[in-house]
Symmetry: C2
Subunit: 307 residues, 2 copies
């Protein structure tokens, strides 16, 4: 059960979405029109950059073409800039993106998965927040977009979502505030040791992943522990880890075992159940914004806007 | 074609091998006896620590039992300490291993894959060199061990190998000396940002991996570039990348494409063809020792001992 408490605020944006594809090529271009229709039904205007349908190797156009699309997105009139899909590709663009210009553009950036590199690099380089949540084609390019995903996306883009509450059985007791940051765990790790990794103290780190074996998830979380990053955070907020397959060798060592080991060895509060990951139902979350988080009686409450 | 020039030296060790299993559980314990026989045929004495056949979750015994085996290995009389297999497990032990004591023990440590964490952490913490090469059970627990692997292992353990030469078509022109370091790429990356990652300038970094998709290999190498590590090395030495499977989405973007992209963007010499990886034929290589490397007419020459 996921609940969202919302409230009318001054509008965050002009409800205009500009779509770019900074990562993988769109495999079924007809999904772009379908996604546009679904977003229009939610009350958004939609404009798709001409780069979105390009294909170069495994990317949505060459590195140069994808950079040009990001640059065009900064100056067009729509307030929201949304990534069409994840995949792989932003790692190549990081040294070329002018993050200062991105921050100064005033646009509200949102994407998923590979887009974690953009969210975190932007925050590391400029302190500017952005959003992780659905990707335009992946989540809206289907006949019936997930309702929770669509509702939360619309509410967050309108600045209306105040509290996201979700079932969180067995979570540690926690009640605190801090900078919310994170995203796809493999992408977070792909930035460690580089200038694109945010230096956050007292934050709330959230993670999810897909197709990652539990021992690899554990190895990544241990690396965050050994690097000193985890101990500096107030809490670890765990989303969905999906589509992994245990072998006989694992002897049942699954994601639950990994989280238990990390909880035991790292010693920061662990809060589970975040509705976020490579799942149809996913929240839209601010990356680099101060939030509140509290657990009580098997529930967790993520306070996104206080009023 | 791989050639090895060797020469009788003062013996490096007493030809005694002590076997421990710091990572994954041994799935077929009967392989331990077979591996011992095969190593004895090569002229080694072999003693197997009692921990090797333990099984705890996916590990060869609990973290505490695996640490105890490493400690016993430091004080027993055999000069060589060899890991039984890779898998996963050393990441958990790094904060508990007394690397100063390991270095002071004077033992010659050798292992493969997950053992990269041990090789690099030992070098980072103490400057002590160790070896990467075959694992006892994986490589010698078979009816007919690979001949090149066995010969090179025996020669290196006896301090006899001087030059390893291998076909290296298309490699950049290179002739230089530097500290050889590296191993399994995913394991190298799992240490970045932690105190277990060696700070090497002017080194020769070698890499291999298995079951890693080309885009993930590229992402790892780009992270090494963005972190400033690659630009500080004299050369990147590329071993085997095996057992990955391209999908239609890759549009043929394979490891060759990755290496070409890295060569173009990073600007350090790239030397390919190192006989090292998750393949039956693998060299035994020093990690943390100064070596020479040169390319000429489609061949590469790794000078391990000069005399």
């Amino acid at each position: 059960m996921v609940e969202h408490h919302h409230h009318a605020h001054a509008p965050l944006t002009n409800n205009g979405i500009y779509v770019i594809a900074p990562s993988g090529a769109i495999n079924r271009p007809e999904q772009v029109a379908l996604a546009s229709e679904n977003l229009k039904k939610l009350g958004f205007k939609v404009k798709v950059d001409r780069q979105v349908k390009l294909v170069h190797e495994r990317f949505a156009g060459s590195d140069a073409k994808r950079i040009e699309a990001i640059e065009r997105a900064m100056t067009q009139p729509m307030d929201i800039v949304m990534a069409a899909r994840g995949g792989y590709g932003l790692s190549r663009l990081l040294p070329t993106i002018d993050f200062k210009a991105v921050a100064d553009s005033g646009k509200v950036f949102v994407g998923h998965s590979d887009f974690t590199a953009f969210n975190l690099a932007l925050f590391a380089k400029t302190g500017q927040m952005s959003y992780t949540g659905p990707a335009m084609v992946t989540d809206f390019g289907v006949k019936k977009p997930n309702e929770l995903t669509a509702d939360l996306f619309a509410e967050v883009m309108r600045g209306e979502l105040e509290i996201l509450s979700f079932e969180s059985p067995g979570s540690d007791a926690f009640d605190g505030r801090g900078v919310l940051w994170g995203g796809n765990l493999a992408m977070i790790m792909s930035l460690l040791g580089t200038p694109y990794f945010p230096k956050v103290s007292g934050g709330i780190l959230f993670v999810e992943d897909v197709n990652e074996h539990p021992y690899r998830v554990e190895r990544m979380l241990l690396q965050l522990a050994h690097s000193g990053v985890l101990a500096k955070q107030k809490a670890l907020l765990v989303g969905h880890f999906t589509d992994y397959k245990l072998s006989a060798q694992d002897r049942g060592y699954d994601i639950g075992s990994v989280i238990a080991h990390i909880r035991k060895t790292v010693g920061i509060p662990v809060v589970t159940g975040l509705p976020y990951g490579h799942t149809a139902a996913k929240a839209t979350l601010p990356v680099g914004a101060k939030v509140g988080l509290a657990t009580e009686a098997g529930m967790a409450y993520l306070v996104i806007h206080e009023h």
